[in-house]
């Protein structure tokens, strides 16, 4: 089955891509670039890096900008998926949804209208196990956004490793934070994964932190041999 993966360049969409490529034929990535940082569906710092990631993966990318208003961004997503269906003859769409009924049902409705299959291979997976799986599969993932107390600027740019997972699980117990950031507490950027033909090297970045949230903005990056 020819599939398009909704791809933000974060850990969930990259892991969903990994699962999908093991079972079916992934023919393109679909990326929505929100101009509104408070987007309901797509909040990802470094979304621009996704084009470099697509190149590193050797997959074509269907991109669409959205002003990020609640309903408009859904129609923009529908247009992007329709473009992918037309350009790459996809038969189905894959998302990295884990717990969010809000995201999952909206993509399901779009796929249903367009006559496409919809898959959510990370659906309901244990969040700590998901993080550990990234390590087992040798993903190189950095924290590129923190959006909840007590996460602070010290987390930004950190690589996800055993120690960091342990600290996230502690925070879950103390503060009810979702360890994989499913509640939008954390955003991530994947620099390397098994399907990457080349890895991403960050050359320049900027850390912005204000109040209880901050981002690790990649200003310049390049692909290097693995």
């Amino acid at each position: 089955m020819r599939l398009g993966v909704l791809f933000s360049g974060g850990k969930d969409s990259t892991l969903a891509l990994h699962y999908s490529a093991e079972k079916e034929e992934v023919v393109c990535l679909i990326t929505i670039i929100p101009e509104n940082k408070e987007s309901f569906m797509f909040h990802t710092p470094n979304i621009e890096v996704s084009s470099l990631q697509a190149e590193a993966l050797g997959l074509p990318q269907v991109k669409r900008a959205t002003i990020g208003e609640k309903e408009k961004e859904l129609s923009d997503l529908e247009d992007a998926i329709a473009d992918a269906a037309r350009m790459f003859q996809i038969e189905g769409v894959v998302t990295g949804a884990v717990e969010s009924v809000y995201q999952a049902e909206r993509v399901q409705r779009i796929c249903n209208r367009l006559g496409l299959w919809c898959f959510n291979p990370l659906w309901k997976h244990d969040q700590k196990a998901l993080l550990e799986e990234l390590l087992e599969k040798r993903f190189n993932v950095i924290v590129s956004g923190v959006f909840a107390y007590p996460l602070d600027e010290k987390w930004l740019g950190k690589q996800i490793d055993t120690k960091l997972i342990g600290r996230l699980v502690d925070l879950q117990q103390k503060y009810g934070l979702s360890p994989a950031g499913e509640g939008g507490e954390i955003e991530t950027t994947v620099l390397d994964a098994p399907l990457f033909k080349k890895k991403i090297e960050v050359l320049d970045y900027n850390v912005e932190f204000k109040g209880n949230s901050g981002v690790f903005m990649i200003k310049q990056a390049r692909m290097v041999s693995k």
Partner: protein, 182 residues
């Protein structure tokens, strides 16, 4: 032991993670489990297990509905069976019920219409289906949404069908089914 039947269109499919794994995660807190694809089921599997759960599938997946002959065992077994979504529709197909196009996606309000072991009051659950059933006289209706029948049980055998996906926001239904029938 609980037998979880993978109802996806093919064995080892991409649908496994979404429609079988979450049921397995809940069921294995209650008892030992095995998973078999519906095309690979043997009478030995049926003999070994205490109860059976039929998984749901992707919205576009109607593979089991076009092969009801693979499920004739549903009419013969005395073991407890819980059919989820496509699983309930397949129970309907085997028992000669009419299937209708009926689309529900997302959190759905459900009314309890008869006393049952799962819910006393109205509740919400995650729906993902494009068909519903018209229950035959052999089945009792326990719950309904505004659009269609949501929970049924065979009048004499422990065969249950739920159209919504309890593994998403109503794990208690799966646990209750396992406790009830063990």
């Amino acid at each position: 032991m609980i037998l979880i039947v993978d109802m996806n269109w093919k064995k080892d499919s991409l649908g496994y993670y979404e429609f079988v794994s979450p049921i397995l995660t809940i069921a294995k807190t209650q008892d030992e489990c095995i998973v078999k694809h519906f095309l690979d089921l043997t009478s030995q599997d049926m003999n070994r297990c205490k109860s059976v759960i039929l998984s749901g599938t992707a919205l576009k997946d109607t593979a089991t509905l076009s092969q009801p002959e693979k499920f004739t065992w549903l009419k013969e077994t005395k073991k407890p069976v819980l059919g989820i979504c496509a699983g309930m529709e397949t129970i309907g197909a085997v028992y000669g019920m009419r299937l209708f196009r009926c689309l529900e996606i997302g959190m759905t309000s459900i009314s309890t219409v008869k006393e049952n072991p799962f819910y006393r009051k109205d509740f919400k659950a995650y729906s993902l289906h494009s068909y519903c059933i018209e229950p035959s006289a052999d089945f009792t209706v326990y719950a309904k949404s505004a659009k269609c029948v949501q929970i049924i049980k065979h009048k004499t055998n422990p065969i249950y069908g739920v159209l919504f996906h309890p593994e998403v926001r109503n794990a208690e239904l799966i646990r209750r089914f396992i406790q009830l029938e063990s």
